[in-house]
């Protein structure tokens, strides 16, 4: 079953074509990589998928419905969650509050109930607390739940960002360079974690990554982006041997 279908998407910034003719199809349960040299337009593509930018042309269909023109929060509520290349935590808040905020769109109690602390308030707050704690346990952050999130070491901040994205209960998770700034050991652990959360939460994952060992290691299929256009797609093996990909990364052969 196709979860995400992008057809001919493009984005112009003035005269600059940041993304053009971007076409992609992701089936539910897949783990897809999006790679490309610096400035190829990967993050722009993510921003288009999550509603930060509106595409100049093209169609995006998620779960059978058109999502173009929706605001980022509406897209999140439809089931696409993301992390950011440059971590964007709620940095002055505690670790657990970061996760709790992601539950917000699933909260049913209204303003009056929260002011008077009646009705569904206590039950749902207890549930949020419990679920958030469970998430932190999964991501081995439970002992730091009251820590201010900006004080966490870098790797843990990345983990917290993933935990927060998952707390929104998405169907599709977009990870923007999850391994940035990690050493090979941490990257390896991250690979295992990505595989594990995909199975555990029955997720579909699309990730941008520069670390080839990670991309080749976990992704089932890879799209390669260069100058805003998809130049190749296929299994890691196919991508490794694709001359256009090699050219994009290493430059043309001298004749």
């Amino acid at each position: 079953m196709t979860l995400l279908k992008v057809n001919n998407m493009s984005k112009m910034f003035g005269g600059l074509k940041a993304v053009s003719n971007f076409t992609m199809e992701i089936a539910a349960g897949e783990l897809i990589g999006l790679i490309g040299p610096n400035g190829a337009g990967k993050t722009t593509a993510f921003n288009l998928l999550t509603g930060v930018y509106e595409p100049t042309t093209g169609e995006i269909e998620f779960d059978g419905q058109n999502v173009i023109g929706l605001k980022p929060y509406e897209i999140n509520q439809r089931g696409i969650a993301r992390t950011f290349q440059n971590i964007r935590l709620f940095s002055e808040l505690s670790v657990i509050d970061n996760v709790k905020i992601a539950y917000h769109s699933h909260v049913k109690y209204n303003l009056v109930e929260s002011i008077l602390r009646i009705g569904r308030y206590h039950g749902e707050e207890a549930e949020i607390e419990e679920k958030a704690e469970r998430f932190l346990e999964i991501f081995k952050l439970a002992d730091k739940k009251d820590e201010i999130s900006k004080n966490l070491p870098y790797g843990e901040q990345r983990r917290l960002e993933i935990a927060r994205a998952l707390a929104a209960q998405p169907k599709l998770l977009l990870l923007d360079e999850p391994a940035a700034g990690m050493n090979p050991q941490e990257t390896h652990k991250l690979m295992d974690m990505i595989r594990w959360i995909k199975d555990e939460f029955k997720l579909t994952i699309l990730l941008i990554e520069h670390d080839m060992s990670l991309v080749m290691g976990v992704c089932e299929r890879i799209y390669v982006l260069d100058y805003g256009t998809i130049i190749a797609q296929g299994t890691p093996q196919e991508i490794k041997n694709n001359p256009r990909v090699i050219e994009a990364y290493l430059g043309e052969e001298v004749h």
Binding site: T50, V52, K71, P72, Y73, N76, Q77, A81, R82, F84, R88, L89, F90, S91, E92, L93, D97, K100, I101, A102, Y103, H104, S105, V107, Y109, L111, S114, I115, L116, R117, Y121, H122, E124, E125, A126, I128, E129, R164, A165, A168
Partner: protein, 320 residues
Amino acid sequence: MSKLQNTTKRDLLALGGCAVIYAIFQGLIGFGVIGPFWELNLILIGINIILAVSLNLITGFAGQFSIGHAGFMAIGAYLGAVATVKFQLPFIAAILVGAGAAGLLGFLIGLPTLRLSGDYLAIATLGLGEIIRISILNTPYLGGATGLMGIPRYTTFTWTFLAVIVTIFFIKNFVNSSHGRACISVRENEIAAEAMGIDTTKYKVMAFTIGAAFAGVAGALFSHYFYIAHPASFTFMKSFDILTMTVLGGLGSITGSITAAILLTFISAALASYPEWRMVVYSLMLIILMIYRPQGLFGNKELSLKLFGRLTGGKKRDVA
């Protein structure tokens, strides 16, 4: 579950504490220990607490820098007075009318202006406060430049205290709910909040509306104590006064706002005989604070019940 039930228990305990404080002050007023001058200042303290805490919701929690709070206070003061003077409605109706009108205006103005951020929003709200004041100044129905006179003195210590308690509990419970966390996430990182499914515009406007409504309550209390509502009481200097309290107490700390409102009102009362020194002392305090504690007295922390109980033996106007 039990942990959350505890928050209600703590609320009840805090309410009990408030009742004790009320009884003490009311007793002192009744027996004449607190004379008219200090009773006036007690009421001013109450009004200032409402103003500082409500501005803290907008500026401290939702992170929207507003310097037009006096404008909303003016709306509450005038429309509350219209309710009692022109329509002979009871005081409670005047308070509700003031709150409703200020809240409605906050909502209508918040929708377009909250697209702005930082300095731009500050300038827009500054202008907004002035527009409200000048409009009132030029409305004969509201008394124009002479002010609206003949307002009955309905505001008592009891009314003020009650309004303060309602304000504090309302805002405290709000910021400790998921709706409040949504507002705080807007302050922390708007892009991330939006990506986490939070309708940032809605929560900015919500905080602005609630804050404005409580400023309206403070305004109604104000005009029904001084017999008169005058445009000169609601200049941008008043907005700065309120902002000073909020920043001094700490953005994002309700107990901080309360403490700062008490402290600053007390200082200005104590300096009442030396009005020329008032602003000097005020300014000096702010300069010293900004050098040594730029995050305000309490930062974004709350004075907890436990700590407060230990220090003062059970006084509480705190936050769960």
